[in-house]
Each structure stands twice: as structure tokens, then as C-alpha cells.
């Protein structure tokens, strides 16, 4: 074999820089695409918000028209609806999801886990219209039968959305519980703590940053979900007076009206999208803050 020189190879160098360039290009275009979307939404929505003023957020009368002066532009009930629906779904989905994750990570025998984990991950890929349809033909009539009213309601949205965010919460939480060092668990058990005490006082706190991350992602999915909510929420622009009353969300309202909207109405929908974007940023920020506080 020939003696290898220590001289750098031009070809290899070029290959390296090319790969680096391609990666850079990918990263830059991904980020650019996101900023492009943000810029687009804000450039369409911001002028409207400035024109409509704070009443856009505080007024409860939503009567959109193509011309600004003929319409009433209050999205307060829709904004509140989005928050109610999201937090309710998180409130139901988190304990259920974490309980499932604990079961999968700590209790289920390996054979059960091998079947359940892929099935749960597959659930994350089911299109939302399927969940919505399930809600429409199963949950909504059931609620109407049990509690009266339309059936399409806050409660129906909670049920469907919490089911939809379960796969996200379960799979990420399961991973983070399984990633807790075994030493913690052994340390706790070796002191005579029961399995439940160990899970509650050591495993879940140690996995909390992952669990919180899963809830943040779930929240993102819940607040951004459109089709399924559209099908089961009832989409009434008014603040629901009970959990069995219909409700509208920012996403559903945008989707409902986008097809027809022109002029000021169209701008108003972009403004709603902008509000949604800001709300998501705030919620994610708060959640991140909370998770950073918890980790000692």
C-alpha cells in the first residue's frame, strides 16, 4: 500500500464544504419559510387590528362584512372559546396521558408495551377529520341524549381534543419517564418506598421537564386544531354559559369563513390568525418558564 501523506485532500475538502452548504441552505430556507409566513400574517392582519382598535379583542359582536364600516368586529367570544377549549382539553388529556405513560413505562409487561406503543404512535397520525367524524356521530349525539341541547358543545370539543392530544402526551411522557436514571428508582425502592410512591415522588418529578414539554406540544395541537373542532364545537360566536353550550374557536372560525371572506372580512381573519399566533407564543413562553422553574 502506498504511503499516506498528511496533506489535506482537495476533493474531500470540497465534499465537506458542499455538504455543509446544503445543510445550511436547508436550515436557512426552513427558517425563512417560517418568517415569511409570520410576516405575511402580520402584514395582512396588523393594519386591520390597528384600524379596529382594542375593541377587536374586547367586543363580543362579530358581524363581518366585506367593507370595514358595515361590520362589527369583536372576537372576544372566539378568543375566550379557544382558551376554554384548549385548557379543558389539556386538563383532561394531561392526567390521562401521564397515567397511560406511567403504565407503559413502569407497569406494562414488555409484550403489552410492544403492542401498545406503536398503536398509540399510529393514533397521532390519524387525520383530524376522522376524529371529528367520530365526535359527530358518537360523542355529539351522546351528549345531546344525556344533557340536552345541541350536543355540539364545549364538552364535545374537550372530549375529542383530549383524545387527539393523548398520543403526543403519552409517547413523549413515556420516553421521558423511561429516561429517568434507574438509580433514582432503585434508591427510592431501596428505602422502602412503594412503587406508587416512587412513581409519584421520584419518577414523575424527575421526568417533569419531558412531561411538560409533551403538554406544551399537546397544547399547541389543541389550540391549532381546526377540522375536528369545527365539526363538534357548534361554532356559535358567543361565550358559552355551560360546558354543554356551543362554542367557537379562532381556528374554526377562520376555516369556516375563509372561503367566502373578501375585503375587510378577509383582513379580519388574518388578524384573528395573528391573535392566535400571539396567544400560542404567550402560552408556550409561560409553559417554558414554568418548566424551567421546576427543574432544580
Amino acid at each position: 500500500m502506498a504511503v499516506r501523506t498528511l496533506k489535506r485532500s482537495r476533493i474531500k475538502d470540497a465534499k465537506g464544504t458542499t455538504i455543509e452548504l446544503i445543510l445550511l441552505l436547508c436550515a436557512v430556507s426552513a427558517v425563512a419559510a417560517i418568517f415569511l409566513i409570520i410576516w405575511f400574517i402580520f402584514s395582512e392582519g396588523l393594519p386591520f387590528v390597528l384600524e379596529a382598535g382594542p375593541q377587536f379583542l374586547t367586543s363580543s359582536i362579530w358581524l363581518p362584512t366585506d367593507s370595514f364600516s358595515d361590520g362589527s368586529w369583536g372576537i372576544f367570544p372566539i378568543l375566550v372559546g379557544s382558551l376554554i377549549v384548549t385548557f379543558g382539553a389539556i386538563g383532561i388529556g394531561t392526567p390521562l396521558g401521564v397515567a397511560c405513560a406511567v403504565f407503559l413505562a413502569e407497569i406494562a409487561p414488555p409484550a403489552v408495551r410492544r403492542v401498545l406503543v406503536p398503536s398509540i404512535n399510529a393514533l397521532a397520525g390519524v387525520p383530524s377529520v376522522v376524529y371529528g367524524f367520530f365526535g359527530l356521530v358518537v360523542i355529539v349525539p351522546w351528549i345531546r341524549g344525556q344533557f340536552g341541547g345541541f350536543g355540539t358543545s364545549v364538552f364535545a370539543s374537550w372530549v375529542i381534543l383530549s383524545i387527539m392530544i393523548l398520543p403526543t402526551i403519552i409517547s413523549i411522557s413515556t420516553d421521558s419517564i423511561r429516561a429517568v436514571p434507574r438509580e433514582y428508582k432503585e434508591g427510592s425502592l431501596a428505602m422502602g418506598a412503594t412503587q406508587w410512591q416512587t412513581i409519584r415522588s421520584v419518577m414523575i418529578p424527575a421526568a417533569s421537564s419531558g412531561i411538560i414539554a409533551s403538554v406544551i406540544l399537546g397544547m399547541g395541537r389543541a389550540i391549532g386544531e381546526t377540522m375536528a373542532v369545527l365539526m363538534v364545537a357548534g361554532n356559535a360566536v358567543s361565550i358559552p354559559n355551560s360546558i354543554f353550550a356551543p362554542v367557537s374557536t379562532l381556528t374554526a372560525q377562520i376555516a369556516l369563513e375563509m372561503g367566502y371572506a373578501a375585503g375587510a372580512h378577509r383582513q379580519a381573519l388574518f388578524a384573528m390568525g395573528m391573535v392566535l399566533f400571539v396567544v400560542i407564543m404567550i402560552l408556550t413562553g409561560l409553559a417554558n418558564l414554568a418548566s424551567r422553574r421546576r427543574v432544580t
Partner: protein
């Protein structure tokens, strides 16, 4: 049974699947003494002490025969209250494993899971346990700091304090100083010397000087067998078995 015996092991064998890790071991662990287990890596020392507080239950595919008599009953029986057993026979691990919680919460963890809620009582237990573990003076002013910020030696003493807080009878220590520097190691050894007045201690070590310094009795394990068990002086100076002699004189291992 002899009053001076804390744990009496009879004909203990253990298999991981088809692999036999412990072979017919019989040994009597004396009360309020330090007993050292020595032997080359992989000879079954850890497996042996884990059997004493049923920590092998966490491993799949384990089969155990024989008896481990503690307080007059065979703790290998199915109806043993494992939680109570582990409360009485506590374990310190090779790698310090404080929980990702504050120093205070680490020590208070055991008492809390065993039902103590009173703030004053917990404070007393925490202080008492940290003092016994010779850590109090170093951490008394930062009990609310994360335990993970302590040095390795401090972490190990915290783990001992954490264990003492549940008032065990027996301390099982699996190479508690092997991850520590010499100064931290000598602190742990001093601590063992103090603790043996109140507790029965079984310590796994592959450091023969350490065994000689702290233990009254020493057991030599090899390939899952208990080769020799005697007072530490006898085992090191007058080994009866050729293999023990080879090991303690450094001919192998």
C-alpha cells in the same frame, strides 16, 4: 439461632435465566459489625447483597433457591412485606444516586413516604441523619439547594443520611467509595466506623485495604461461590484456601 447473627443465609443459589450467578451460599452475618465482601469483578457480590433486600425482584427472569433468615423468617418467601423489609435493610449504591431534589427533600424523602408529615419532626430527622452521616456541618446552610450540586463524596454521604432517616437495622453498601477520591473515601470509612455501633453493615469492596481497615469479618467470593468466610485478620493473614491466598496476595483479580 445465635443472638449475634443478624442475617443467616442458607444454601442460597441464584440464576439469571440459565446463568447461575450464586452457587449454594451459606453465611451468617453478625449483628452490629461490619462485614466485607471481596472478590474479583463479576463474582456475584452485588447480586448477593441485592438478594438480602429483595432488589433482585426488579430484574426479569431471576430464580432463587435457598433461605435468607432475618428476624426469624425467610425473607425470600412470597408473603414477605418487601416494603417493610427494605425499610429495615437499606442499600447504598456504588454510584451516588441522590434524587434531583433539594438536600432537605432527599433526606426527608424516606420519612415522608413512611407517613411523617409534621414539619418539626421532619426537621429533627433531617438534621439528625445529616449529623450521623457527618454531612451536617457542610450543608446546614444550604439545605434547599439541589443535591446534584454536591461533590461526589458529599452526595454519597447524603445517600447514607437519606437511608439513616428511615431508621434501618442493616446497611448494605455496594462499593460505596469506588467512585470517590481518597479523601472522600476516608471520610466514608470514618463514618462506617461510627455507624457500626448502631447498625449491621455489609460492604462490598474490591479494595482489600479498605476491607482490612473497616471490617471485622470478610467473605471472599469467586465465580458465584463463597470460597472463604472468616474474621478479617484470619482471612488476610491465615487464608485456609489457596484461591483466597492468591487473591489477597494479589496473584490474580
Amino acid at each position: 439461632m445465635d443472638d449475634n447473627v443478624e442475617i443467616s443465609v442458607k444454601n442460597l443459589s441464584l440464576w439469571f435465566g440459565k446463568f447461575q450467578a450464586l452457587k449454594n451460599i451459606s453465611i451468617a452475618i453478625p449483628k452490629n459489625e461490619v462485614t466485607a465482601l471481596i472478590g474479583p469483578s463479576g463474582c456475584g457480590k452485588s447480586t448477593f447483597i441485592k438478594t438480602l433486600d429483595r432488589m433482585n425482584d426488579l430484574v426479569d427472569n431471576v430464580r432463587i433457591t435457598g433461605e435468607v433468615i432475618y428476624k426469624g423468617r425467610n425473607i425470600l418467601d412470597d408473603d414477605t412485606d418487601v416494603v417493610q423489609l427494605r425499610k429495615e435493610i437499606g442499600m447504598v449504591f456504588q454510584k451516588p444516586n441522590p434524587f434531583p431534589k433539594s438536600i432537605y427533600d432527599n433526606v426527608a424523602y424516606g420519612p415522608r413516604v413512611h407517613g411523617i408529615k409534621d414539619r418539626k419532626a421532619l426537621n429533627d430527622i433531617v438534621e439528625g441523619s445529616l449529623r450521623k452521616a457527618a454531612l451536617w456541618d457542610e450543608v446546614s446552610d444550604r439545605l434547599n439547594e439541589s443535591a446534584l450540586r454536591l461533590s461526589g463524596g458529599q452526595q454519597q454521604r447524603l445517600c447514607i443520611a437519606r437511608l439513616l432517616a428511615v431508621e434501618p437495622n442493616v446497611l448494605l453498601m455496594d462499593e460505596p467509595a469506588s467512585a470517590l477520591d481518597p479523601i472522600a473515601t476516608s471520610k466514608i470509612e470514618d463514618l462506617l466506623y461510627e455507624l457500626k455501633r448502631e447498625y449491621t453493615i455489609i460492604i462490598v469492596t474490591h479494595n482489600m485495604q479498605q476491607a482490612a481497615r473497616v471490617a471485622t469479618h470478610t467473605a471472599f467470593f469467586l465465580l458465584g461461590e463463597l470460597i472463604e468466610y472468616a474474621s478479617t485478620i484470619d482471612l488476610f493473614e491465615r487464608p485456609r484456601d489457596k484461591r483466597t491466598e492468591d487473591y489477597v496476595t494479589g496473584k490474580f483479580g
